[in-house]
């Protein structure tokens, strides 16, 4: 089975709703035979997204393929933001015993592991490689970096209570309180300071992912089509709009309110005028004329 993936990004201004902006279109072509027909949807202007993103999409599509393509498609249709359920299981299931090894006479070594939630396709642009992850001891006293497998260590840390912070763009990590006991050398206790959860092993995971931009309203369209008997084309279109266009928002805007008031005046005022006694009306009009307040109609008629 061959999966060929084409990723497009294209912007369009649809005719009716001016603010539609499609950010991504993923075409997945599933065929049982190797196929050279890679251009799944040739009608759109193609623009490649950066290499890592394609990688990520391939990753997620591969996972999607593990189920059946049809089930995936169905799942996509049912849940609007498609990225929510794409959770990749971290391949490393190594556990790390929580212990400090006395690295020298000066202090102890704290070793831990960072676990970023694998590659997620939550956003196209944000890289979540652990290259960006920094581990900071005691508010900047020492800084180290996580290795490719997520391991990090601090050497020669004296006994006492310390604070470890993790900085990784796109993730929110709780600082970790680490107690190195002076009496029983080598025992370490660790707890997240945010929710006081005790860690039995120093595996640091983000509490949540951070979204630095305003979330747009996503709408997903999915079409399944078959080019020929072997090829199954699944087309995902992720549409987003800054604000959902609705009549209510138009009405609620100052312009809408003004218009509404005008319409009200135009149609209701004459009705109200009709209810007034004609005699009184005439009197009032005469009074107004006497005061010299020109009415709009008079003004215009005089102009003629």
């Amino acid at each position: 089975m061959v999966v060929s993936v084409s990723v497009f990004r294209w912007h369009c201004k649809a005719r009716v709703t001016a603010r539609w902006e499609a950010i991504a279109l993923v075409a997945m072509q599933v065929s049982s035979f190797p196929s050279s027909n890679e251009t799944a949807v040739p009608i759109y202007r193609e623009r490649e997204i950066g290499g890592s993103d394609i990688h990520r999409w391939i990753h997620f599509l591969a996972h999607a393929m593990m189920r059946s393509a049809a089930a995936a498609a169905a799942a996509f249709i049912n849940s609007p933001p498609p990225f929510l359920f794409i959770v990749l299981i971290s391949s490393h299931l190594l556990s790390l015993a929580l212990a400090a090894s006395p690295s020298s006479e000066e202090g102890y070594m704290i070793t831990g592991r960072l676990k970023l939630g694998g590659a997620t396709s939550k956003e196209f642009g944000l890289p979540s490689k652990p290259t960006n992850a920094k581990v900071i001891l005691n508010g900047g006293q020492r800084i180290t970096f996580a290795r490719a497998d997520g391991y990090f260590s601090f050497h020669n840390v004296p006994a006492g209570t310390h604070l470890i912070e993790v900085v990784a763009l796109g993730y929110f990590f709780s600082p970790v309180r680490v107690d190195i006991s002076a009496r029983n050398p080598g025992t370490i206790q660790a707890a997240l300071t945010e929710n006081r959860r005790v860690l039995y092993e120093l595996v640091l995971e983000p509490l949540k992912e951070e979204q630095y931009y305003e979330v747009r309203n996503y709408k997903l369209f999915c079409t399944v089509s078959t080019n020929s008997e072997e090829h199954l084309c699944i087309l995902f279109i992720l549409l987003q709009t800054r604000e959902p266009f609705s009549i209510m928002s138009l009405v609620k805007s100052p312009m809408g309110l003004m218009m509404g008031f005008m319409i009200l005046m135009v149609f209701i005022m004459p009705k109200m005028m009709e209810n007034i006694d004609p005699e009184e009306m005439r009197r009032a009009q005469e009074e107004m004329r006497a005061q010299g307040v020109p009415s709009l109609s008079n003004l215009l008629s005089r102009g003629n």
Partner: protein, 982 residues
């Protein structure tokens, strides 16, 4: 009452519209810009193999390790190491790992060359801070040479370059040895470790490369001692400088036999006098020494024979040698002359011939060449071509190839010392800034180009030119003042003494000037810029003059060294005045006074506590003398734990100098050094505007205690002065003081048991917010303290106001007994903080946001309402209306409120806010290693239309209304007519 209602109404409007002011992703770059820098380059290693991208690995003074694209100078990746983690050496091992040795030889790390991922990290136990050496064997014969040698003090480590494991460790038997050089013999697996014991003994160890076994050891001593500088000339010969720095000692140690020979430098160079330094460069059979006036290359023909090979006049720089072939090594020299910079490449075996000679023209504002790094490439005709990486005096980095500057980076901007925002010129005829001076021809050319572009006749180059013109004339990048006050010049002074003006539109450098006063010279050995002030801001009087900037510097760290002053035109970057002061600079006080030409008065306090008035005109003295009784200043002596307040006395000191005034100590606060230690101070910004003194609450009016003279001081118990983890909660205590700096009165004091620093604080209006570490909860905390003036509290009686029995018009003085009420509250905050600032707007009406620079180098905008001491668990209905948020124990971190969105301002140090003319908006400039600028609206842009405002809808409505008018008019006409007929 009406006013109160009005206030409450406006407040409600403001509050309703606050909270999320987040960006959409496609709005990035509309109002903000971000520039990445690395700092002054110390070491550079080229990686230019045939396949793959060509890159150069650099390490800098800002503790940055970075991989740069050799074609463009762009950053592939970079890491900012910890503050104390200075990078000593950099090399490439196995062709794929970047090896850095940092923290005085105790941390060795390997980074993946393509993406910067850390591969391994090894901690080496280096006994004492000493000279450390990294030796990565160059020959790449597989399987054999994968050991990295590191020496520090008396130990040598060999580490596997694949995983960083220590293969062997040799502790040399003599404890006080300091290893100077490590070299490897060509024939065998033996390495030589050469070191000094004490100052006069010389030791050579022959160590097996594989096992670390000491094969041979030899010792010798030299009577007049060594100063510790050595240079390796052959694998078995070094040249050392003797203790007096007057002679060179050549030492050969072949086969364990040590030969010494002393040569006096004055014998080699007859005109030599003064100091000499050895330049750290590995030449084959040569060494470079640096005497004050020139660099001298010496050839070592044998132990007994040294001769002068070449003399290079200063200012110049020389590279290390680069092996070209087995017997040839090339090196490059850069020499300044009147016609430009001469760049020469020579082979070491033939110094008379120049392989390459080029003349470069470099911007004179870059100063002299400081460091160069050479690299070679094979030209198409199979000859060697050379490129050099040049570090200039202003810390900029450029790549020179074939006589041209391929790219250059303004890396001095990674070390900004001080910054200020300046107005651009008003848009009118004849006024424009440096580079946008248009003449008629250029104007015509531009229009012609544009015409070509619209007719689709332009070539790609011309299209680029049109784009550049568009960018220049586009609204945000114009060089004139705008209505909203968004376009400004950010003027910064860097550690290198360069002043640069950046445009707020896109962050480009408008002008730059390397201040002559801040360049190293005979009179001023180690000058450094201190700060930057607005010198002249013409408003009414001197309208024809351009505004100018004052840069104050000092000739070194010592407080009795003289200071320097420079005044620069802020539009053109021309140095108007530059002078060396006769006194030192200890403290600079910009006064809120200007003279008749709108030059701001400044007081400079020198080391003897005399006040010097600038500008030195009789006019300014006259103005100053009137205000002198009202001028008070204070000084915080952090080391001594004393705060002293001073006033000025009339001049009796120097009858001949009317600009010098004597100071008088008025008060002092001495913190007992056994229990308290000053760790942080903060004051209000001088130019902050407070809109109203009254704070209207649901059923009350409170009067803010607003004084410009509030000083916040944080002290901790001495045991807790160190890092987190060094003190137990019982022995730590943090005290926060609010001090009036005129009278020295302590307005408020609060202690936090079990808390310690670091403390970051910000003072604004009548409140102070400070961030510290709570050891009991083991979390960071932020506290807010608000002070209210109780003496005015009874003014809220309406009858008193009517009868005129209020004291609202009574003058506010620091000498009146303050009757203050203080409210405070503390909250948890997740992150460590590097810097805190507060937004400031033109009239101070807009609600405030705290800008918190977190440890992740992001800047979080946190509404001040979250730090309101009146927050309670269950706010009453009226409090809710007022916008009081229910109390939570910790402050929320909403990712969308990071003003740096998905960017990091690496090495963040300072956040500066300046008001725009538009009341809702503040301009924010953050700097560290990176620069970031944006503008923020803490309560949204309530005073202007948003950019996605639909003008079409507005037009449509107007058209519809006009149409409606005519329709109704026609209808009413008809109706009137009908009624008349009736």
């Amino acid at each position: 009452m009406a006013i109160r209602a009005y206030l409450r109404f406006t407040l409600a409007i403001l509050l309703l519209s606050t909270l999320s002011t987040a960006l959409y992703e496609d709005q990035v770059g509309l109002a903000d810009w971000h520039q990445k820098y690395i700092g002054k380059v110390n070491h550079a290693v080229f990686h230019t193999q045939k396949t793959g991208r060509k890159r150069v690995i650099v390490s800098t003074e800002e503790n940055v390790i970075a991989s740069l694209d050799l074609r463009t100078g762009d950053i592939f990746w970079r890491h900012v190491l910890g503050k104390t983690d200075h990078i000593d050496q950099v090399d490439i091992a196995l062709g794929k790992y970047v090896i850095t040795l940092s923290s005085e030889g105790s941390v060795l790390r390997a980074w993946n060359l393509p993406d910067g991922q850390m591969i391994w990290e090894s901690i080496l136990d280096v006994s004492a801070p000493s000279k450390s050496l990294l030796y990565v064997p160059a020959s790449m014969s597989a399987g054999k040479d994968n050991l990295i040698l590191v020496s520090g003090g008396s130990s040598i480590y060999a580490l596997s370059s694949i995983d960083g494991q220590i293969v062997w460790r040799k502790e040399l038997p003599i404890n006080s040895i300091e290893i100077q050089q490590i070299s490897q013999s060509h024939e065998s697996d033996t390495i030589y470790a050469v070191g000094f014991v004490g100052s006069s003994e010389f030791v050579v160890y022959h160590i097996s490369y594989r096992t670390g076994e000491v094969l041979q050891q030899s010792k010798s001593s030299f009577g007049s001692g060594f100063c510790g500088e050595t240079s390796l000339v052959f694998d078995d010969t070094i040249v050392a400088l003797d203790g007096q720095r007057s002679s060179l000692v050549a030492i050969g140690f072949k086969n364990g036999i040590i030969n010494l020979h002393q040569t006096y430098i004055s014998d080699l160079i007859p005109e030599f006098s003064g100091n000499v330094k050895l330049l750290p460069s590995r030449f084959n059979g040569m060494l470079a020494i640096d005497i004050a006036s020139s660099i001298i290359l010496l050839r070592v023909k044998g132990i007994n024979e040294l001769e002068v090979a070449e003399k290079i006049n200063r200012p110049s720089a020389i590279t290390a040698s680069l092996p070209i072939s087995k017997e040839q090594q090339a090196f490059a020299i850069m020499e300044h002359s009147k016609s430009g910079i001469h760049f020469k490449v020579k082979f070491d075996n033939d110094l008379t011939n120049e392989v390459l000679r080029e003349t470069l023209h470099m911007d004179s504002q870059r100063g002299n060449v400081e460091k160069i790094f050479i690299n070679s490439y094979i030209r198409t005709d199979r000859t060697h071509g050379f490129r050099v990486l040049v570090v200039m005096e202003d810390h900029s980095l450029s790549l020179v190839q074939q006589g041209e500057i391929v790219w250059s980076r303004e890396d001095g901007l990674a070390s900004i010392v001080s910054s200020a925002m300046f107005e651009l010129p008003v848009e009118k005829e004849g006024v424009s800034v440096a580079e946008v001076e248009h003449n008629l021809f250029e104007w015509l050319k531009g229009h012609f180009l544009k015409l070509k572009g619209t007719l689709m006749l332009a070539s790609p180059d011309e299209m680029a030119a049109i784009q550049a013109i568009r960018l220049k004339s586009s609204e945000k990048n114009k060089m004139t003042r705008d209505h909203n006050g968004f376009r400004k010049l950010i003027i910064v002074v860097t550690r290198a003494g360069k002043v640069l003006a950046l445009h707020t539109g896109d962050g480009r450098v408008v002008w730059s000037v390397l201040l002559p006063a801040l360049r190293r010279s005979g009179k001023c050995g180690n000058p450094s810029a201190l700060s930057l002030y607005q010198w002249q801001v013409p408003h009414h009087h001197a309208m024809d003059e351009n505004p100018s900037v004052l840069v104050v510097g000092a000739c070194g760290q010592n407080s009795d060294l003289p200071g320097v002053l420079s005044i620069i035109d802020s539009y053109t970057g021309k140095v108007l005045n530059s002078s060396m002061l006769e006194h030192s600079v200890r403290h600079i006080i910009p006064l809120p006074l200007t003279d008749s030409t709108e030059q701001r008065l400044h007081l400079i306090i020198d080391g003897y506590l005399h006040a010097h008035l600038y500008p030195r005109t009789s006019d300014s003295v006259k103005i100053f003398l009137q205000e002198m009784p009202n001028i008070y200043w204070y000084m915080v002596e952090e080391g001594k734990n004393i705060i002293r307040g001073y006033s000025l006395e009339s001049r009796e000191l120097n009858t001949y100098d009317e600009y010098v005034f004597r100071t008088k100590q008025l008060w002092s606060i001495v913190f007992p050094s056994e229990s308290e230690k000053i760790i942080a101070t903060a004051t209000r910004k001088m130019n902050e505007v407070v809109h109203t003194q009254a704070k209207v609450t649901a059923d009350d009016v409170m009067y803010k205690y607003i004084s410009k003279n509030i000083l916040f001081v944080a002290t901790v118990s001495p045991k807790a002065a160190g890092n987190i983890g060094s003190a137990a909660p019982e022995e730590a205590c943090l005290f926060a003081y609010l001090i009036d700096t005129v009278s020295g009165r302590i307005l408020h004091r609060v202690s936090h048991q079990g808390a310690q620093g670091p403390v970051n604080a910000v003072v604004s209006e009548n409140w102070v917010v400070y961030h510290y570490f709570n050891l009991r909860a083991h979390r960071y905390e932020m506290s807010v303290v608000e002070i209210y003036d109780q003496s005015r509290a009874d003014n809220k009686d309406v009858w008193k106001l009517v009868l005129g029995k209020h004291n609202l018009t009574a003058p506010v003085s620091s000498y009146t007994r303050p009757d203050v009420m203080v409210k405070s509250q503390s909250y948890f905050f997740t992150h460590s903080v590097k810097s805190i600032s507060v937004t400031s707007t033109a009239k101070g009406i807009t609600s405030k946001q705290l800008l918190i620079g977190t440890i992740g180098d992001q800047v979080l905008a946190l509404d001040k309402r979250f730090l309101d001491p009146r927050r309670s668990v269950n706010p009453t209905q009226s409090e809710k209306e007022e916008g009081i948020i229910p109390l939570t124990d910790s402050l929320p971190i909403v990712p969308q409120s990071y003003i740096t969105h998905s960017l990091q301002v690496e090495g963040l140090r300072t956040i500066v806010t300046t008001p725009a003319k538009l009341e809702s908006t503040a301009l924010v400039f953050c700097y560290g290693v990176d620069l970031f600028y944006t503008r923020i609206a803490p309560s949204r842009t309530y005073d202007s239309l948003t950019e996605d405002f639909s003008y079409a809808l507005l037009l449509l409505t107007i058209v519809a209304l006009v149409a409606a008018i005519f329709v109704t008019w026609a209808l009413s006409e008809k109706k009137e007519l009908r009624e008349k007929w009736r």
